[in-house]
């Protein structure tokens, strides 16, 4: 039970005015900590370890640690060097190394400034697999919007785990097909010409990470099986469900301590600092500075048995998907001739009242982040 919602509901019931308003706390110091983000599973590699600094709340830049020496070590076995493929992202060689169930692994890394970090060995656990991922049409009230929005709630049911106590994480990746709002009839690149294929930038596919991690354990359950665990809520007020949606669910079987770490960050990231919630705290991961035990290091090196599940969804029948479409700017069209070259190309569509321009993503679907070709595995 979240205190905020409990109290707000209580206040409504008493017909009392209670309100939630945006608030920006003044934060005077910023914690610049080492973040280690790595995982080894029993699925084919490459496995990636990313090294970066934490960023302040309003800065979204990614500051990687380049030039580090990163190894994944197998207990009583080999030591595999990772190579930096992009800045701060270190990859294994998939031909050389693949995680095996029952073996224990850890990360060992040396930053270019000489700091040495290590995680403890953790055993790679078998994953019983996913039985089903299902959707239920539900409605959610959004306090900050003051309105209810329909959408799909996803639920996962696992297979029964062989051991009595199983700890799971679920990470999701969504891909959806969508269109821009208007075809491109003309394009301005210092001169105006007809666009050869008006619908060539109309349909896109975009993949994204679901910003929620679900966790569950079977400790308190009669069966080592998780049934209908809520994963996340997909809102029906955008283009995600406008044509076709695909959800890839990764189920990770992890150790108790890994579960506790993710459960901690999940709780803190969902809605943090609600009054009847557990006090938030600075969560330390499993990576430690070998020479300075007290240094707070963020992130985690996860060792997990992995299973995947895929699900396609068409246009919902239970509720109507609604989203805003772009307005057409007929006046703006007259001013495109003065726009600098950095703004080119400027797309023009033929609206009911003539030629018009529109905002980003309204004609070129790629501007929303998608690609005009579906991923290779996409099934239409």
């Amino acid at each position: 039970m979240k205190a905020n919602s409990l109290l707000l509901r209580l206040a409504w019931l008493l017909l009392l005015p209670a309100c939630t308003t945006p608030f920006v706390p003044v934060l005077d110091d910023f914690h610049n900590l080492v973040v280690v983000d790595g995982m080894v599973t029993d699925r084919p590699g490459p496995y990636v370890v990313k090294l970066a600094r934490s960023a302040s709340l309003d800065i979204t830049t990614y500051e990687p640690y380049s030039g580090a020496e990163v190894f994944i070590e197998e207990e009583g076995g080999g030591r595999y060097l990772l190579t930096e493929v992009t800045a701060g992202a270190y990859h294994t060689d998939s031909a050389d190394f693949r995680g095996q169930i029952g073996k224990s692994y850890r990360v060992d890394l040396l930053l270019s400034d000489g700091r040495h970090y290590q995680s403890p060995f953790e055993v790679l656990r078998a994953n019983p697999g996913i039985d089903t991922v299902k959707t239920v049409a539900e409605e959610r009230y959004y306090e900050e919007l003051g309105m209810t929005i329909p959408g799909y709630q996803f639920y996962v049911t696992s297979n029964t785990s062989a051991g009595q106590e199983a700890y799971f994480l679920w990470m999701m990746e969504g891909t959806y097909k969508y269109t821009s709002d208007y075809p491109i009839d003309f394009v301005w690149t210092g001169f105006l010409r007809a666009f050869p294929e008006p619908y060539s930038l109309f349909t896109c596919w975009r993949s994204y990470k679901v910003e929620e991690v679900a966790t569950a354990n079977t400790q308190a359950l009669t069966e080592a099986r998780v049934v209908d665990k809520p994963l996340f809520f997909l809102r029906g007020d955008n283009k995600f469900l406008s044509y076709r949606y695909h959800l890839r669910t990764r189920q990770l079987a992890v150790s108790k301590s890994t579960y506790e770490f993710w459960e901690g960050v999940r709780q803190q990231s969902a809605i943090s600092t609600s009054l009847y919630n557990v006090q938030p705290y600075l969560i330390r991961g499993n990576v430690r500075n070998v020479d300075d035990e007290l240094e707070a290091v963020l992130g985690y090196f996860t060792v997990a048995g992995e299973a995947q599940h895929e699900l396609y969804l068409g246009i919902p029948t239970e509720f109507e998907v609604s989203y805003n479409t772009c307005g057409l700017d007929y006046d703006g069209y007259r001013w495109i001739f003065g726009e600098p070259a950095s703004e080119w190309p400027i797309y023009i569509t033929l609206g009911p009242e003539g030629r018009a321009i529109a905002g980003d993503g309204c004609m070129d679907c790629r501007e929303i982040g998608g690609a005009t070709r579906p991923p290779v595995w996409w099934v239409e």
Binding site: L15, T60, A220, S274
Partner: protein, 925 residues
């Protein structure tokens, strides 16, 4: 007019005057040797010689020399001088003399001059119907009250007189009022509940009742046999600029108590209401050092201590849940209360088991003479109080009921969420009081409180408090008595939650508290009071079950088990006035706590964290077999030293032990929090507190000022591993970490206790810093670094004002300010597996914005006609007058990829409420 203040002898007089004045009276003479001095010098001489005080207006004549030709009684001489200068004279029982222009000071009868003939005895005093109410205002010839009947008194010589002193207006009992029988050289002070008892010989005796802030009452009591009387004294409305006589032992400069507050029902009526509900606990939060956790959260933090270090006793019943509706309303029906004593510093040795504060609340005792009915309707509740004699003059019964009635509203509103919701709360209490005979009294008290709340279809809470107490009070004589009390109470909580079907659960638990207490009070002299006794508490904590709820729940039923513990304390406390300047209160309390079987207890590798991986063995214990016994010696010491007439310094030290705590690691207390006993692996908490203070009475006692500083050190504070789940926790010791809490503060108070305008303003600076560092990472909270406790709010100020326009209309206002409470904010973001996550600061590094609120209310009484069936009054209040949106909580939510902060405010606009109160009889009833 000018005042001559002479510090010498003041306190001595106040403490001793009943005996002293009579003994010294004949010796008080005006000596011929004083001739030739000015009047002013003569007064100084007389004051020094006889340790009296003489007040007189500043006249030119004061500088003239006086002649004393022969040795005459001082009073006679002064009387002569006064009349020659057109002044009136009054003298009180202690021989102090007051000269005023015009009429003599009312109620100050010059005893020594007019002696007996003024105190006339009514010839018809044999009437059996005695007068319950003596109005002293404007009366110069005292009334005679007859107690008992001649028939009952046949053949006996002395009788027990019992009774109560009440404020004539509010009917509140007046504690620590003095009753003096000058002819008998006997006196007694009233107890906290206004009652007194004294043994008197047969006959008619003069009685003087005095209290700070009330007019003196003089009357004669004719004792025919034993009996009970009610004395009503009028609030002092006209300020006498010359004098304010204080004989009140409760006056902070005259007693040794520190950190003590007494709240009478009247104070509750004079503080603005929240949603039309009177709330004694709201008054408590306006006192220095007492902080409410927040709107919508139960609990109080007293002097930088967690809420579970407070103990609430309602007529000896421990009330573990003191609020309705998660803190919106108090669980006490204010009409049914007699008053509350709050101890936050040198807690009397008779109380144990909590480190921070004792809230000792008394139920209201019904009149043994007549029927009382009172009630009221507020927007949220209806309440009723019935008091009736069972046997007139011998026994009475009080029943108080309160209940929400507005539940129907939820059903009417066309919204599913509302329709499926239910809010119900109510409480009931009853007090039966029997005067068995002269020596024995019996009180039976019962209390029941219920909260039954359902939100939508998902969440259901049911919280029940049930308790009963029986106490037998036996008087050996009028100085020594003994009380034996038997208590049993049950706190029950049921929660159902099916927000997630597969994890839907039902939980229930209950805590039973059975207590036996025997205590005796011995008063070897007026200066000396000894309290000693024993109390023993059996805690039976049914930690309950955690069960699947609904068909689809996969929750494994968990039996959390039962635990029991026995806490016994033997205590002795001695309160002694060594000299007129020095008073000492010293107490010891020897505690023995046994955690009892049946239970299974884990043992761990020595020196390692109590975690599953360090388990060594499991030991099994049989029923009532002691598993772990700890002993602790509590000490209390308090010393007062008077500095002249109006000031006193005090110092106190206390050590206490606590054997129970609330399993809670949420930011505020959650409704699902449960109690836990110290056990084989969780050590009892120990608290030490030292405090020093300066107390003063300014402007002849119209203002009380005080400054108190304290330092507290709590060992074995119960804290929890970061992120511990306490909702269902089979082995709490795996999540409990014990640390240290240090708190310090300075409390400044100015209080005005008389006149039309009364109230107080206080300011507190305090800090509360916790630290949990077991030396290794799994024994640390916040990396072993110190952090501000959740209730660390350095600056706090309260203002309470009440202005009485007349007897019918009064205006109350209060203001509350406090530094925002600490909070742990997210400060940085990082990515894991491309999922954006938030990192927090170390614990409680930031604060929410400061809290500020003003409330006002107007109380309007119905007409003042003497003959009417019922009297009504209205209370209109506005809570949060300025509509400030005080931040109740701050939370963060991800909005389109950004972390957005939100603040939650409750009562963010002015809230108006109207309450109607009624009672049987007239205004005075």
């Amino acid at each position: 007019m000018r005042l001559f203040l002479r510090p010498d002898g003041w306190l001595f007089l106040l403490l001793l005057w009943p005996a002293w004045s009579l003994a010294q009276e004949p010796a008080r003479m005006a000596e011929p040797a004083w001739s030739g001095r000015t009047w002013q010098q003569l007064v100084a001489t007389a004051e020094a010689t006889y340790s009296i005080r003489i007040f007189y207006p500043d006249l030119p004549a004061s500088q003239e020399a006086v002649i004393i030709s022969e040795r005459v009684p001082l009073a006679a001489f002064v009387q002569e001088w006064a009349s020659s200068h057109g002044l009136s004279m009054a003298e009180d029982a202690q021989g102090w003399i007051y000269l005023t222009e015009g009429e003599p000071i009312s109620s100050q009868i010059p005893l020594s001059i007019y002696a007996q003939e003024e105190i006339s005895i009514r010839p018809d005093s044999q009437e059996t119907e005695r007068e319950p109410f003596i109005d002293s205002k404007g009366e110069f010839i005292p009334k005679v009250v007859t107690v008992g009947t001649a028939r009952e008194g046949l053949g006996k010589r002395s009788f027990l007189l019992t009774g109560v002193v009440r404020d004539a207006g509010s009917r509140d009992p007046v504690p620590r009022a003095s009753l003096t029988f000058p002819d008998l050289d006997r006196g007694v002070f009233t107890e906290d509940n206004g009652t007194f008892r004294i043994t008197l010989p047969k006959g008619t005796h003069r009685l003087v009742v005095r209290d700070f802030g009330h007019d003196e009452l003089r009357l004669s009591v004719e004792v025919l046999s034993g009996g009970d009387i009610e004395l009503r004294i009028n609030e002092r409305e006209i300020e006498l600029e010359e004098v304010t006589i204080s004989s009140q032992r409760d006056n902070p400069i005259q007693n040794t108590a520190m950190g003590f507050e007494r709240i009478n029902p009247r104070a509750v009526r004079e503080v603005p209401l929240v949603l039309g509900e009177r709330d004694i606990l709201k008054v408590a939060t306006l006192l220095p050092g007492v902080q409410s956790v927040g709107e919508g959260s139960a609990g109080f933090n007293v002097r930088g201590a967690p809420a579970d270090q407070n103990l609430f006793y309602l007529e000896h019943i421990p009330v573990y849940n003191t609020s309705h509706l998660f803190g919106f309303f108090s669980a006490f029906h204010s009409d049914a209360l007699g008053g509350m004593s709050l101890y936050k510093s040198n807690i009397p040795a008779e109380y144990g088991g909590r480190l921070a504060a004792i809230f000792d609340i008394e139920a209201r005792e019904a009149s043994k003479d007549k029927l009382q009915i009172e009630g009221g309707i507020s927007p949220v509740t209806g309440r009723l109080l019935i008091g009736t004699p069972i046997r007139k003059g011998k026994s009475s019964a009080m029943v108080g009921l309160r209940s929400t009635y507005s539940n129907w509203l939820l059903g009417v509103i066309p919204n599913q969420q509302f329709n499926q919701s239910k809010i119900y709360f109510g409480d009931a209490s009853t007090l039966l009081s029997f005067a068995l005979n002269d020596k024995n009294q019996l009180k039976l008290f019962g209390y029941f409180s219920l909260d039954d709340t359902r939100f939508g279809r998902n969440t259901y809470f049911r919280n029940q408090n049930l308790g009963a107490s029986a106490s037998w009070l036996h008087f050996f004589d009028d100085r020594n008595d003994m009380e034996i009390t038997l208590v049993h109470s049950r706190l029950g909580l049921e929660v159902e939650n099916d927000e997630i079907e597969s994890e839907a659960y039902a939980r229930r638990n209950a805590l039973f508290h059975s207590e036996l207490k025997a205590a005796a009070t011995l008063r070897p002299s007026e200066m000396h009071r000894i309290r000693l006794g024993i109390n023993s508490i059996l805690y039976q904590n049914d930690r309950g079950e955690f069960l699947p709820f609904g068909q689809r729940s996969l929750i494994v039923p968990v039996e959390l088990g039962k635990e029991q513990g026995l806490e016994t304390g033997i205590f002795a406390e001695d309160e002694l006035r060594i000299t007129e300047r020095i008073g000492v209160q010293a107490g010891i309390r020897y505690n023995v706590y046994s955690f009892l079987g049946p239970d299974e207890v884990y043992t761990y590798e020595p020196g390692k964290a109590r975690l599953e991986e360090n388990l060594v063995d499991t030991l099994r214990y049989g029923a009532f077999q002691p598993i772990r016994t700890s002993q602790g010696l509590d000490l209390r010491l308090s010393i007062r030293y008077a500095l002249g007439l109006a000031w006193a310094v005090k110092a106190s030290a206390a050590r206490l032990h606590q054997y129970t705590f609330l399993l809670s690691n949420t930011i505020a207390l959650a409704p699902t929090d449960t109690w836990k006993l110290s056990d084989a692996n969780i050590d009892p908490m120990r608290g030490d507190q030292v405090s020093v203070g300066l107390f003063g009475n300014l402007a002849q006692g119209r203002y009380q000022v005080s400054a108190e500083a304290y330092y507290k050190d709590i060992e074995n504070l119960v804290e929890y591993r970061d992120g511990a789940n306490l909702l269902v926790n089979e082995v709490p010791e795996w999540d409990v970490l014990q640390g240290r809490l240090q708190a310090a503060g300075l409390e400044l108070v100015v209080k005005k206790t008389t006149g039309r305008l009364q109230g107080w303003v206080n300011y507190t600076y305090s800090r509360a810093i916790a630290r949990v560092d077991g030396g290794q990472p799994d024994l640390q909270v916040n990396f072993g670094l110190p952090y501000p406790a959740n209730y660390d709010r350095p600056h706090a100020a309260n203002l309470v004002l009440n202005y009485r326009f007349n007897r019918r209309v009064s205006l109350s206002a209060n203001g509350v300010y406090a530094t925002g409470k600490p909070i742990t904010y997210p400060t940085s973001i990082f990515f894991l597996n491309q999922v954006r996550l938030v990192s927090f600061t170390t614990r409680n590094e930031y604060r929410v914005p400061d809290y500020l609120r003003f409330d006002v209310s107007v109380n309007i009484e119905g007409n003042l006609k003497a003959k009417k069936l019922a009297h009504g009054s209205w209370a209109f209040s506005i809570y949060n007058l300025t509509g400030r949106d005080n931040v109740y909580n701050v939370f963060f939510s991800s909005v389109s990829g950004r972390l957005q902060g939100y603040k939650v405010s409750i009562f963010a606009v002015p809230i108006f409420s109207a309450t109607y109160n009624f009672k049987l009889g007239n205004y005075e009833s």
